[in-house]
């Protein structure tokens, strides 16, 4: 139980961090591959320290964290766009 919860927590944090700058800079394919490799290493660490189930949970949580981050950014962008369409920023 603790291991599963911990994998969820670590995965969400890492996914959120990956979403900070997605797509990752100018060399997107290269950066995405590096991010994928780093995520895989993190999952392998969970596999080594706990078990395969924890690694799977970590990867699933990573995706959830990434989506949560992109959703948060999308919501803020939508709000920003709505304000601009209303005639500019409200200072």
């Amino acid at each position: 139980m603790i291991a599963s919860l911990g994998s969820v927590g670590a995965g969400l944090v890492w996914g959120w961090l990956l979403g900070l700058r997605a797509p990752w800079g100018r060399r997107q394919a290269h950066s995405a591959a590096a991010a994928f490799a780093a995520s895989l290493l993190f999952a392998l660490e969970a596999l080594a320290l706990v078990d395969w189930r924890a690694a799977g949970i970590l990867l699933a949580s990573l995706a959830a964290g990434l989506l949560a981050r992109l959703g948060w950014r999308g919501a803020l962008k939508a709000r920003y766009g709505a304000e601009r369409s209303e005639g500019g920023l409200r200072a």
Partner: protein
């Protein structure tokens, strides 16, 4: 056999607290970083979040990694939550601060000391000048 049987309560609390400190600091570092997020930053972060220290400190097949992950989540999103609460209760900021850093102008009797570190951006600066959290 309970998974925490190999680790004492004190060890679990320690691993969780260690994760919380790392999570809190990762958010802090990201908030005060000097430039755009680069790939090297991500490599550094994965080194801090899940690097050699974690492998060295936590024996395999114990619940310590799980406690660390729970603490990491608590520290990282705890910082975010505290930020949300502070922005919510402050009369000088609104949720729009997360968009573009806007805030009320200082009153005549207020000032910000020059040596106070400033956030380069609320969360991040996106392409085209739009700041998004």
């Amino acid at each position: 056999m309970p998974e925490s049987e190999n680790a004492s309560i004190l060890q679990l609390i320690g691993a969780g607290a260690f994760g919380a400190v790392v999570g809190w600091y990762v958010y802090y570092i990201n908030r005060y970083r000097g430039g755009d997020v680069q790939l090297a930053d991500l490599v550094t972060v994965i080194g801090a979040v899940g690097g050699g220290a974690v492998l060295a400190l936590f024996p395999a097949k114990t619940a310590l990694f799980g406690a660390y992950g729970i603490g990491l989540f608590g520290g990282f999103f705890g910082y975010f939550l505290v930020l949300l609460v502070l922005v919510r209760i402050s009369s000088s900021f609104s949720i729009d601060w997360f968009l573009d850093g806007r805030r009320r102008k200082l009153a005549d009797s207020e000032f910000i000391p020059a040596d106070i570190a400033s956030t380069v951006r609320p969360m991040e600066r996106d392409r085209g000048g739009v700041i998004s959290g």
